[in-house]
């Protein structure tokens, strides 16, 4: 008799604890990301202080909606990536574009194994004065844009952004615009909560998590 050794992997078919929309926009001096801090267990608002925006290296910010544990896994991959990048100890470093493409490779690879990481990711950053804002979905769809939003934000926030977003938005105006978007999301998206973070990144390469 022939015995076959089969490696069985259990694909993730649905998410458990999820975060809702992430919104990202470019403004005059950099990029801004906003996400609330809720973590829903199904439709139960189970956790209230989940950080879903994370700094990646010196030049990038990552925001994630979808399965929280998968985001934590992705964070581990990226921390490792940045660590190994720093270990070269030269003047080169991975910028937002590189990280964005790397993430896309991860997401698309997992989707091809029929075991996707259940997230939609927003990746923004500034390197050498160049702003970058992009998105990757759980099946590996990726693109760049001046403003992006995941999940419900795509339907609720982006119409506002299409009307009101400008290239030369000042920091204050940009934060106001994001607050407006978050407010609309809070009112119409039942899984969003009234506590959120706005992270910004601007050309002098400093990072301040605010409010």
């Amino acid at each position: 008799m022939i015995a076959y050794l089969v490696r069985v992997e259990f694909p993730c078919r649905y998410p458990y604890v999820t975060g809702t929309s992430v919104i990202g926009i470019k403004y005059k001096d950099g990029i801004l990301l906003a996400a609330d801090m809720g973590g829903s267990y199904g439709s139960t608002l189970r956790y209230k202080s989940v950080e879903r925006i994370k700094a990646i290296g010196k030049h990038s910010l990552l925001g994630a909606s979808g399965e929280i544990s998968d985001f934590q896994e992705i964070s581990r991959y990226l921390d490792e990536l940045i660590l190994y990048d720093n270990m070269w100890d030269d003047d080169n470093s991975l910028g937002p574009k590189e990280v964005h493409n790397y993430l896309n490779r991860i997401m698309y690879n997992r989707r091809n194994k029929f075991n996707p990481l259940w997230n939609t990711l927003v990746l923004g950053g500034v390197k050498n004065g160049k702003k970058y804002l992009g998105m990757v979905s759980m099946i590996g769809v990726h693109f760049e844009d001046d403003h992006v939003a995941t999940g419900f934000g795509n339907h609720l926030a982006r119409p506002i952004l299409r009307d009101e977003w400008r290239e030369d938005l000042s920091f204050e105006e940009a934060v106001k615009l994001l607050e407006k978007c978050m407010c609309v999301c809070l009112l119409r998206d039942r899984s969003s909560i009234n506590k959120f973070q706005v992270c910004f990144f601007y050309s002098c390469q400093a990072l301040f998590p605010a409010s």
Partner: protein, 262 residues
């Protein structure tokens, strides 16, 4: 009777602290026909001498494009050089696939040097008998590296390897400080001058050398032999003019001086 006891194996030290096999590999680099490289802030130029193995054969290729932003010139065992440039190409392609951005040149040469180093520490291997001049452009500007069979690598403003490279090195040492703000074409002229030094009297033509450039807004490419010939011709014209002028000046200055023996 007085055979060297310490050179039968790469991993065997001599009492003086040397690895003879590695040194022999470095000797192989000196046997190959010359290759030179020089750079400014924005451009790097590689040039090599095309030498045929025999009257009946064609010459072997000595400069390879690795990626749009990197190329190499080799001296030594061409076969080893081809293997290494294939390795460099795959490193660049893989990096491009994962990050959608070009691999920084300084990292590429570390990969290459590590590969060469392994061969100096394994008894069942032999060192690569080839020296590589790696020219490339990245975010931090133009770079020129020399990779040695020993696994060492160095960054240079200008360098020459291969047979009679000392003459080219002397030329480059005299001139490299002026290269800083040169564009591609000016660097090519100096590259041709340096190549000429290694020929020792043999006539420099567009067919006898290969030249390649990489720089800002200029992906790695080979310079057309016809263009090289035109540059050589213009150089020669200038040299002749200078020579004539100099002899004129000498005549003007010392009309009374006795002529040298005719």
């Amino acid at each position: 009777m007085f055979r060297n006891q310490y050179d039968t194996d790469v991993t065997t030290w001599s009492p003086a602290g040397r690895l003879f096999q590695v040194e022999y590999a470095m000797e192989a680099v000196k046997q190959g026909s010359a290759a030179i490289g020089l750079r400014s802030k924005t451009h790097v130029v590689l040039a090599s001498v095309n030498k045929a193995q025999s009257e009946l054969s064609s010459h072997q290729k000595k400069i390879f494009k690795v990626d749009d932003h990197v190329g190499v010139a080799i001296a030594g065992l061409t076969a080893d050089g081809r293997v290494l440039s294939r390795y460099l190409r795959s490193e660049c392609i893989n990096h491009g696939f994962v990050y959608e951005s070009p691999l920084p040149v300084s990292r590429l040469v570390v990969h290459l040097a590590d590969k060469a180093q392994v061969c100096t520490q394994r008894s069942w291997k032999r060192p690569y008998g080839v020296g590589l001049l790696v020219a490339g452009l990245d975010e931090s500007g133009a770079h020129l590296y020399y990779n040695c069979p020993s696994g060492n690598y160095f960054e240079y403003q200008a360098f020459a390897i291969g047979s009679r490279s000392q003459a080219a090195k002397t030329y480059l040492e005299r001139k490299f400080e002026t290269f800083t703000n040169y564009k591609g074409e000016e660097l090519i002229k100096d590259a041709l001058h340096a190549i000429k030094e290694t020929l020792q009297g043999e006539k420099l033509t567009g067919a006898i050398c290969t030249v390649a450039v990489v720089g800002v807004d200029e992906p790695f490419h080979f310079v057309d032999p016809k263009t090289i010939q035109e540059l050589i011709d213009s150089m020669e014209v200038k040299e002749e003019e200078a020579a004539v002028e100099q002899s004129d000046m000498q005549e003007d200055k010392s009309p009374d001086a006795a002529p040298m023996d005719i």
